[in-house]
Each structure stands twice: as C-alpha cells, then as structure tokens.
Symmetry: C2
Subunit: 384 residues, 2 copies
Amino acid sequence: MELRELLVGLVLVWLVAKVAGEGMERIGQTAVLGELLAGVLIGPGVLGLVRETEGLHALAELGVLILLFEVGLESNLDDLLRAGLQATLVALVGVAVPFAVGYGVVYSLGSSALLAVFVGATFTATSVGITARVLGDLGRLQDAAAKVVLGAAVVDDILGLVILAVVTGVAQTGSVSLAAVGLLSGKAIVFLVVALLIGIRLAPTLVRWVGRMQARGTLIVYSVGFAVALSAIADLVGLATIIGAFAAGLVLATTERRHHIEERIKPVADLLVPLFFVTVGMKVQPAMLNPFAENAQFGIALLLTVVAVVSKLAAGLAVYQRGVRRWPIAVGMVPRGEVGLIFAGAGLAAGVIEEDLYSALVVVVMLTTFVAPPWLKALYRADK
Amino acid sequence: MELRELLVGLVLVWLVAKVAGEGMERIGQTAVLGELLAGVLIGPGVLGLVRETEGLHALAELGVLILLFEVGLESNLDDLLRAGLQATLVALVGVAVPFAVGYGVVYSLGSSALLAVFVGATFTATSVGITARVLGDLGRLQDAAAKVVLGAAVVDDILGLVILAVVTGVAQTGSVSLAAVGLLSGKAIVFLVVALLIGIRLAPTLVRWVGRMQARGTLIVYSVGFAVALSAIADLVGLATIIGAFAAGLVLATTERRHHIEERIKPVADLLVPLFFVTVGMKVQPAMLNPFAENAQFGIALLLTVVAVVSKLAAGLAVYQRGVRRWPIAVGMVPRGEVGLIFAGAGLAAGVIEEDLYSALVVVVMLTTFVAPPWLKALYRADK
C-alpha cells in the first residue's frame, strides 16, 4: 500500500514536472519555475493529489544532494581564481547587502532576530545558472560582464553554503550569538578547505584505482557514494548536507574522469532533482497568499520581493573595472533559484519559519527568478 | 537524524556491494553473489551495521523495478518468436518440473500447501543473464544451445512473472484454490497482452512526441515514469509490480530510441539495483543456518539446493532438435538469480515464508547461481 502510494506519487510528480517545466522553457523561463508551480498545484494546498511520504521525501533529499554535486562538478576552481577580485567583490556585495537589508526589514517589522536571519540568508542566494542560460541564449557568454557574473556565481555558491551552515547551526541552538556564528563559519570554511585539500590530492589515485575495476557501474557508484559520504560527514559535524555534496563535486571536477562522471550523473539528476523542486512547491499554501484572507501573506510576499530585487542590484555597484557593464551584472545576480529554496526549506525544517512565511518566501524566490530573464533580454535588446 | 542514517547506510551499502561484487567477478562469479553476501555481512544477522530504513527500502524497491525494466528493455520479442518451439518447450519443462518437485518435497515434509507453492514458485525462476555472461566469456554465444537458452530465458521471465502474480495473489487470499489460480493467471496474461498490444501501438507516437521536447532529461523521465506507471497499474489490479516494469521495458524495446533509453537507464540501475540485492542479503539470518543450532535450516537449505539443481536439469530433456546439446542447456537453466530472490521476498512480505525458511531459500538461490558458471566452463572444456 505504501509502495503503491510512492509509485503513483512518482508518476504524478514526474508528469506534472515535465509538462510544466516544458511549458516554462517554451516561454523563455526556466524549467525549475514550472516544477515549483506544478508542486503548488498538486500539493495539499490546492488539489491535494500527492502527499510527501517518507519514500518521496528521501528521494527528494537525494535529489538536492545530486543537484549540488552536479553544480560542484560543473564549477571550475581555476576559472574562479582567474575571474579574481572583480568577481569576488561582486559576490561579496551581492551577499552582504541583501542579507543586511533583508534582516533589517524583517526585524523592523517585529519578527525575532532568528527569523530575520533566515530571511536575510534566503536573500543572499544567487542562482546564476538561470542567468548563464539566458546569456548563452543571447550569445553573450564571452562578454566581460558574463565572465564576472559566472565567476561571482562560484564564490556565491561557496558563501551561500557557509551562510547556510551558520544559519542551520544557529537554528539548532536557537539563539544568535556572535561566538556561535564565528564558530560555525569557521567550521564550514575548515570543512570546505580540508575536504578540497585532501580530496584534490587523493582523487587522482582513487579515480585511477576505480578505473581498474571490472564490475559494471563502478565509476558512478563510487562518485555518488563519495558525494553522499561527504554529505554525511558535513551533517555529522553540524553543517548542512549539501555543502558536502558540493565539495565532492568540486573535488571530482579536478579529475580526468570529470566528463565521464558528468555524463553518468545526468540521467540520475534528471530523475531525482525535479522531485526536490516539486516537493518544495508542495509545501506552499496558496491560501495564505490570498490578499482577501485573514493573515494574508500576499503583501509580505510583494514587499519582500521588492526588497530582494533591489538589494541584489547593489552587486552592480561593486563593478570597478572599465568596460564591464554594471546592469547586466546587477540583474544577472537577482534570481534566487534553488539555493534560496534550500535556505527557506532549512528554516521550515528547523521550525524557525512558519508555513505562511515559507509560502511567501517561495513566492519571493519564484518572482526573482521570473523577472530576471526578460529583464536581461531587454537590457541587451536596448543595445542594438 | 533519519536523513543521516539513510546517507550513512547508502555509503556503506554501496561500498560493500562494490567491493564484494568486484571480488566475485574476479573469481569468475557474478557481482550479484557478492552483493548478497555483503548484505548478509552488514545486516542485522551478522554485524548489524545497516538497518533497512523506510528510505532505503523505497530505494531498493525502485531498484528492483529498474532492474526488471532493464531486463525487458534488453529482451527482444522478435528473437523470442524466432527461437520458437524448442526454446518454449525448454522453458515450460524448466518451470513445470521444478515447481512440481519443489512443491512435492516441501509438502511431503509437512508444510502447508501455501508454503509449498511459494517454494515451488521460487524453484521455477531462471536467471539466464548469468549463463549468457559465461557463454559470452567462453565465446559460445552463437552455439545452437546458447540460442535455445537465451530464447527460453525470455519465455521464462514471462512465465515467472505470471507465476509470481498468481502466488502473491494466492498469499493475499490465503488459500490455494484452482479457481483463484486460474483467475490470477488469466489476469496476469491479460495484463501483459493488453500492455504490450496498446504499448507497442502507442509507443512510437509517444517517443516521437517526447523527442520534440526541449527540456533536459525528458526521455529518461518519461521512460522511467512509464515503467513506474505500469508497475502501479499492475499493483492496482492485484499483480506484482515488477510485471509492469518488465512490460514497460518490452514495449520501449520496440521503439527506435531503445538504445538511448538503455544508455540513460544504466547509471540509474548501477546506483539502485545493488541496493535491492544488498537489502535481500540483509534479511538473511545466518544463525538459522548454523548446523549445530536448534531449529537449524542448514540441512533444509542443502536438501532444497539439491532438489532445485536436479529438477532444473530436467529442462535438458526437452531438447528434441538434433545438433543441440542437452547438457549446456540443462546446466544453463540452473541459476535462480534475482527472480528467485523476488519470489522468496514476496513470500516473506506476505507472511507466508518465515525468516528461517527465507534464509534457507536465499542460500538455495545463491548456491544454484554459484555452481552454474564453473560447471558450464567444465562442460565446454571437456570438448577440447
């Protein structure tokens, strides 16, 4: 009976995810938006077709690990070092300003400091995958601005994971103290540095050894096993699991089998990642956004969206190089995408964020992700 | 905490599965045997390192569906029709004799008719994948005998699934009546025929339609979604889920995208299928096999193994074509492999088979799988 519910749930989730994702891509948006909307539609908040059973939850959790593993695998540490100071500065401003403004607005509305920290952290996220795709469609990936945005993306992923580690740690202890934040940041940075240093040194030997195995599927099983192992270690030392999966991707990206691993992880990601986005959407309660209802979060969602967009544009101010355009960089940093959702989800799981605010935050993430592609296209169209 | 247990469990399961599987392949055996033994070792019966949590169980269940989907995808209905009467006859004898003998021996030992039916059904299974591999290693895949064995394999998979459908149905009602068996066989055959007829007619249109989608991963998600959907339908009409997954594989094997699907399903199978075999091994209680313990199943396991091997050799008697050697066919049908395990597992899940007999049956399956490769090699070596 449980198995049947899981099977029927999977079929429905995959079907709506693919149909909605395809629809969004056709109108120039990202498939992730479609998957989120599909989740809202089939979830308990609207049609109630699918429930997040333990099996589905486990698959969705694996999905987000595979997603971050893939992001790490596609990141290039060398590119990051080359993009250098300009990209790092953009990333830092694009993290600091949204955090400070988000925290300030929520705290001044009368929320607890802990809640304000979570909202601020959600605002720091950047999903430059979406921007990269739009720039690619426009044939602008070789622009100086594009290189800065993509370099900033890697820095931002790393900063975001450190912030997430801190924020989930703070949620566990329940209080925001400078000492605790310092300890957690230190732990997250030490984890990343140690994992990368040891990993990059050992990976070539391991990959060579795996290459000598005769049994089928050795490379994919050891690669994913490595990502899951680092995720478990991150969890054991009190950090977010995804920081481990991301670190595993960064490590394996330095090996000669990188492309083989990318190719094999793709179908696995194709199956599992939509489960994550759809279940995120399923947790949204659209009734709480209804502007005519009591306790409506509609106004909050709109206000937070404006704050999220404007504060992120500040990243454009960090551009100091001549010949690099500010606006494409500023707008390119706006989409919050999957990282923002992970932050909001961590807050919900920790009991810090209530369901109504969670719904509002998912809407904020969706709107920021929604506005960026047409805006970027308009910026470049104005050039001609 | 639950997530951590799942992650640590996955890492351990993958690690021992790959190490033991590789070891078995190196000594000329199949990786599945290593995965089963690894499961026995880390399971509650011996070291107790890993527990089958709900998440791990869900992943293992998906694993067996993916496995049967892959088996279906690699089967060729045309080959089967061409192998024709000789292969069908071998398959029928190889199913009927082990069932009758297995049922007779267990029933005469004083067990219930229902239990005897399950043991008989477990004995009907044939895992010719193992034989195909050994014949391939020996360069004998073009022999007349090899063609008969491989043709019989497809017939046997279909017969096995019909038997499994009947047996699980019988377990649900709790009694063995001729009418019930007739109804269930009819249902299973109708399901397969309807799924294949409708599927094969619609599949080309669907595949063409999926080919026009732009979003990433459409083919793999729709293919696996189709397999899961047919599994859920099989479950809804009271049949075993795997019959649906197998039918989906057979249907998609007739499309032009067959090889694309096979290629994409491979890494997914590589990750999930070992989880199934390891969790099967984890349910074995080696203490119950200890010949010096009370209630020891060691003698039973040995007796059943002899019965299982000898009764399956009868399939060789069904060879009537000249120039086709009996012995390679007889020995080639002996390994019970994954299908036998699925039968025993269905009996355990239905509460018909107790843990002690389940442990004995897994040992029977492992021993039949273990003896076939060296025996086949010896047969061909004697030729020279």
